[in-house]
């Protein structure tokens, strides 16, 4: 354990978190070159003491030692949980045992997680929302409901008198340096950007909503739940979030037009011809910009950026050994960092013997919560003129869906089930 004590971040307000310099991989999905911190804070007022977030269970000892340097357990009146992921709530059950009188303050959506974490009957807590506050005597905590950053439960807590925003995972990063403050630690800018790209980016719309609440605050310091405490130029990190949440490039087609991306990969040129037919069909409908991409000629990252901005996606893959090919799966497994829900999706492809790829891609698109209302097109080896016609029609139907001009269809459930079994 580090010998570092509790650190004052403002008068009567201390960092009492924990350092985890040995961590190299966080939650499977994130790398860190020098560990992380689990930041917890203690705020003292004249009539009460609040603890804001706790730490991972494995680091609870460090947290309690630091906490005991600045407060007695029987003084704690409030425990604020900005986010209930176990790296911030691991020490909560023990803290509740040591400070049973403390009231818990959580967001509405945190209830489910709290009950899953603290499994005892009679669990008492107070649900707070934007506009609610807790008075500690000369220190007022105001709550900002900022959901989906990056869990449904997330909120921020604003300490009015000191201009401190306890931001939870927002503005955080995985970077461990015992000097704690952004002006003193090593260069962590890449960690800040990496954390945003992997944790916050899928929730871009919610980031923009949260910024509306955060930007008007007279910020003096941002105290996130991971990584350096942002004391120097805190507003620049808010501005950076604003930039990161904006589209990467100006969109030439304007908001009224829709964008359809057609991705394909082809071994003998058959799926490639189908892709061109899908494009040609879509291009007959005004108001849709159609783009065609060969997956062999591009990398996943730029494609993910394009997909984030697109309205519709069509994927063409041959079937090889009963499966869609790896570059298609590589791209379809890279979409967790962006929001794809509600986009329009479709699949097509040429095959030799069995042709499973189209169904498998459609299933994956449905799993990603895309709308997949048009059955894909499959062609055995070289697509016939009729099959290319079906591809053109698929493109056209997709474009009509995107422009909201699709003709209303009435079908029977039994028909849907038959389609599925003949297509499987």
């Amino acid at each position: 354990m580090s010998t570092l004590g509790a650190i004052a971040i403002a008068p009567d307000t201390h960092w009492v978190g924990a350092l985890d310099p040995g961590l190299r991989e966080f939650d499977i999905i994130l790398k860190t070159a020098n560990g992380t911190t689990y930041n917890s804070y203690c705020v003292r007022g004249s009539s009460g003491v609040a603890i804001i977030d706790t730490v991972k269970e494995s680091h609870a000892g460090e947290f309690f030692t630091r906490l005991e340097q600045v407060a007695r357990y029987d003084e704690i009146t409030a425990i604020v949980l900005n986010h209930l992921e176990p790296d911030h709530t691991g020490a909560l059950p023990e803290l509740m045992r040591r400070a049973p009188q403390a009231k818990l303050y959580i967001s509405n959506k945190a209830q489910l997680m709290l009950k899953a974490l603290v499994k005892h009957d009679g669990l008492a807590y107070t649900i707070v929302n934007t506009g609610d506050s807790v008075d500690l005597g000369g220190r007022t905590l105001h709550f900002l409901n900022t959901p989906y950053l990056h869990w449904p439960d997330t909120q921020c807590t604003w300490l009015e008198q000191q201009g401190i925003l306890f931001s939870g995972d927002v503005f955080g990063c995985h970077f461990c340096d015992s000097r704690l403050f952004n002006g003193q630690v090593g260069d962590f800018r890449f960690s800040f950007e990496y954390y945003y790209a992997h944790i916050m980016r899928p929730f871009r719309e919610h980031v923009l909503d949260a910024l509306e609440l955060i930007e008007p605050l007279p910020l003096k310091l941002i105290a996130p739940a991971h990584g350096p405490i942002l004391r120097d130029a805190p507003r620049s990190y808010v501005q950076r979030y604003r930039q990161l949440a904006a589209p990467l490039l100006h969109n030439e087609i304007g908001a009224s037009n829709k964008s359809l991306l057609v991705f394909y990969i082809s071994s003998y040129g058959n799926t490639s011809r189908m892709a061109e037919a899908v494009r040609d069909g879509a291009e007959t409908i005004p108001g849709v910009r159609v783009s065609l991409y060969d997956l062999q000629g591009g990398g996943n990252l730029p494609f993910v950026d394009l997909i984030e901005e697109a309205d519709g996606l069509a994927f063409g893959s041959p079937t090889i050994n009963g499966d869609a090919v790896k570059p298609v799966w590589d791209l379809l497994s890279s979409l967790a960092v962006i929001k794809v829900r509600d986009k329009l999706g479709a699949a097509f492809g040429s095959y030799g013997w069995s042709g499973e790829a189209v169904n498998m891609i459609e299933d994956r698109l449905r799993g990603l919560k895309l709308r997949v209302p048009i059955q894909g097109v499959r062609a055995r080896l070289i697509p016939t003129d009729e099959e290319l016609g079906l591809c053109r029609d698929l493109g056209k139907q997709l474009a009509l869906h995107l422009t909201g001009s699709i003709e209303h269809r009435v079908i029977a459930m039994s028909e849907l089930l038959t389609q599925e079994s003949t297509h499987a």
């Binding site: 709308r371 209303h408 009435v410 029977a412 459930m413």
Partner: protein, 94 residues
């Protein structure tokens, strides 16, 4: 067998289904974008908005009611994995 007509507004498709069908079964087959997480009425993933025809659907169970409340859902919301269509016309925002 009694039938119901379920319209998925965003994709412009009406599906005629036998009474008793759960909405998630229709949504999945028609590709309406409503998918499930747990399929047991606990996770709230398949929450959707009913535009009209709520009276043509099964009553909320205690579990569904609880999950909808926890997700701050309004009166027009249902869990697709729990709600069964009973007959008549129903329109869903999906």
């Amino acid at each position: 067998m009694p039938k119901a007509n379920v319209t998925f507004e965003k994709i412009g498709i009406t599906v005629t289904v036998p009474a008793g069908t759960r909405l998630i079964e229709i949504s999945e087959k028609v590709g309406a974008g409503i998918t499930y997480g747990c399929r047991e009425g606990e996770c709230g993933t398949c929450m959707m908005r009913i535009i009209s025809g709520m009276e043509n659907m099964s009553e909320r169970s205690v579990l569904e009611d609880k999950v909808l409340q926890e997700n701050m859902a309004g009166r027009n919301h249902r869990l697709a994995c729990q709600a069964q269509v009973l007959g008549g016309d129903i329109t869903v925002k999906a």
